[in-house]
C-alpha cells in the first residue's frame, strides 16, 4: 500500500540523483583515477608477495589478481554517499524538510543512493578499460558464477547502503562524526576483503572478518565471480548476504526510531 503510493516519489528522487552525478563530473572521474591507482598498487604488491611463484596456498596468482581487480573495480560503484548526505543535511539544518515529507526518511535515502549508483553505471565504459590496463581482468569462472555474481553484487549494494546509513544515523547523536567515519572507512575497507582476500588472512582474523557484515560488500560477490566462494557453495555465500540485508533492515529500523527522538534541528 505505502510502497505503491511512494513508488513515484522514490523514482523521482532517484532520477534527480542520476542527474546530480553528472553535475559533479570531476568527482566521478577522480573516483575512477583513484580506483585505477589502487588496483595498480595492489597488483604490484601482490606480484611481489607471490615472489615469482604461480601458486601460494593453492591459489594461483592470476586468480588473486583478478579477484583484487574486480573487488576494487566494483567498490567504485559501492561507495554510497548516505552518511555524508545525512551529516550535511543535519549541519545545514535542512534535515527538518526531509523529515517533514510524507515519505519515510530511510526510504528517501535508499532512493537517493539508488539514483547515485545507476548514474555511475555508464562509467563502466571508462572504468573497465582502466582496470584492464592496470590490473588483470577475466570473465567469470562459469556462466552460472556470472549470474550468481550479478545477484550477489546487488545484495552487496544493498548492504553497503544499509551499513553506510547506520553510520550516518549516528550523526543524530553526535552531530559531528568525522573521526567515527574515518574509523569506519579504515576498518570497513579492510574487512570487505578488497585489499587482502579472506583466504590469505590468518585464521583468527578471518573468523572475525567473517562474522562482520563488511565481507558481503567485496569478498562474497568477488569470490563467487572468480569461482572460489569461502564455503565452497555459491548458495551459502548468497545466504550470508541475505541474512545481513534482512538483519540490517531491523537494525536500521531500531536505530532510526531512536535517532528521530533525538532530532535537534540546527538553527531557526
Amino acid at each position: 500500500m505505502t510502497i505503491r503510493a511512494n513508488l513515484p516519489a522514490w523514482i523521482e528522487i532517484g532520477r534527480a540523483n542520476i542527474r546530480w552525478q553528472y553535475m559533479y563530473r570531476f568527482n566521478v572521474l577522480m573516483g575512477i583515477l583513484l580506483t585505477g591507482v589502487t588496483i595498480y598498487l595492489l597488483t604490484i604488491v601482490w606480484r611481489a608477495a607471490y615472489g615469482g611463484q604461480t601458486e601460494v596456498g593453492g591459489i594461483g596468482i592470476q586468480q588473486t589478481l583478478v579477484y583484487l581487480t574486480i573487488a576494487n573495480l566494483q567498490l567504485y560503484f559501492l561507495r554510497p554517499q548516505v552518511s555524508g548526505t545525512i551529516q550535511e543535511r543535519i549541519r545545514e539544518g535542512q534535515i527538518g524538510f526531509d523529515l517533514s515529507r510524507p515519505v519515510g526518511y530511510p526510504s528517501q535515502l535508499i532512493a537517493r543512493a539508488a539514483g547515485d549508483m545507476i548514474g555511475l553505471l555508464p562509467m563502466v565504459v571508462v572504468s573497465v578499460p582502466v582496470a584492464l590496463i592496470v590490473g588483470e581482468l577475466e570473465s567469470p569462472a562459469s556462466f552460472s558464477a556470472g549470474l550468481a555474481y550479478v545477484v550477489s553484487f546487488l545484495l552487496a549494494w544493498v548492504i553497503a547502503v544499509q551499513l553506510n546509513m547506520v553510520i550516518g544515523l549516528v550523526s543524530f547523536w553526535t552531530l559531528e562524526m568525522t573521526g567515527f567515519e574515518m574509523m569506519y572507512r579504515l576498518i570497513g575497507n579492510f574487512a570487505t576483503g578488497a585489499l587482502v582476500p579472506l583466504w590469505f588472512m590468518p585464521d583468527a582474523l578471518r573468523v572475525i572478518v567473517q562474522v562482520l557484515p563488511f565481507q558481503s560488500i567485496a569478498f562474497v560477490p568477488v569470490s563467487i565471480y572468480v569461482g572460489a566462494p569461502a564455503t565452497g557453495a555459491v548458495w551459502s555465500a548468497l545466504a550470508v548476504q541475505v541474512f545481513w540485508a534482512v538483519a540490517l533492515v531491523g537494525i536500521i529500523q531500531w536505530v532510526w526510531e531512536r535517532a528521530f527522538l533525538r532530532t535537534v534541528i540546527q538553527g531557526g
Binding site: E12, A16, W20, R101, P102, V264, G268
Partner: protein, 333 residues
Amino acid sequence: MPIIQVHHLVKEFRRPRRFGGRLGGLRTLFTQQYDTTLAVDDVSFSIDEGELIGYLGSNGAGKSTTIKMLSGILVPTGGEVRVGGLVPWEQREQNALQIGVVFGQRTQLWWDLPLEDSLRLIGKLYRVDAARYARAHERLVELLGLEPFLRTPVRQLSLGQRMRGDLAAAMLYEPRILYLDEPTVGLDIVAKERMRQFVEETNRERGTTIMLTTHDLADVERLCKRIIFIDKGRVLYDGSVTELKRRYAPWRMLEVTLAGETEDAVPPLGLPGAAIIEQGAAKLSIRFDPALIAVADLITVVIARHPVSDISIVEPDLEGVVREIVEAGEVRS
C-alpha cells in the same frame, strides 16, 4: 472542532555542559553535566479551521520550536498536540500530507535543480496525481509570477524569487494547513507585499488555515485578526489585535500642522480626554481618547483656536505595543 489543538506543550533542550579554559574541550566531551533550556514552557492554544493567526515573539521566544513540533519533526518533552486529529510526530507521514511549511531562512527546494524540477519532485513526494498537479501548477505559476524563472536552478534565484518558489512548493499539494515561519524576512517592500497578498488570498479563497510566525508587525497588522504572543516559551497573550491595541493604547494622536510658526506656549485645551503632549515650531501633537471625546469635536476646537494648514490622525502601532509587552514580561489586563 478546532483543527489545531495544543495542550500544555513543553520542549526542553538538553546539551552537554561546555567548559572553557585548558582541557575544556576534553571535559566537554566526557561531562555528565547538562544544561537544560526550556524552549517551550506550557503552551496551550487552539486554532479553528480557516483562521489566519499571527504567532509572535522575539528571537528565541520558542516560535520555531512550536512550529517544528506542530509539523512533527520535533518530539516534545511533554503535552499534547492534535493537528487535524493526528499526533504530528507519531503519524508523521499522514500529517505531512495535510500541512505545508515555509521557513523564510531556509528553502525546501533542491539547490541544484531548476525550480520546475523541484516542484515536480514535490508533486511526486506528496502523491499529487497528474491532473491535480497540472491545475495547481498552473494556478501557482500565475499567482506567484513564476514563469520567468521556472527553468533557473534554485541557487541562482534572488531571495524574493526563491521565496515565491517555496510558497508554490508548500501549496502545490493543497494542504489544509500552512505554517509560515518568518516568510517575509529579508524581502524588499514589493516582494513583501506580493507575499502578503498571496497569503491573504490563500486564506480567503481556499480556506487554508494559516499560522504565521513573524517579526514584521506590518505583516500581522495587515493579515491577522488574532495573535498569539509568546515570550520565553510562555503564552503572554492570545486574542484579537484590536483588543491588544485597545488595552495598550486606547488613545489616538492628532497631529496638527499650524499655518504659521509660534514661539509662545499654546494654552491647554481644557477638554476632557485630550491633551497637548508635544509642541514644535509649527506643530502640535494632541493625544485623545475617542471614548471620551469625538474626533470631530476636537478638530472643531483646535481649528477655532489656531490657524491650521494640515491635520492628521495617527493610530497606535503594534510595534510599540509589542515592545512594551516584551519589556514588562507580561500583558496588561
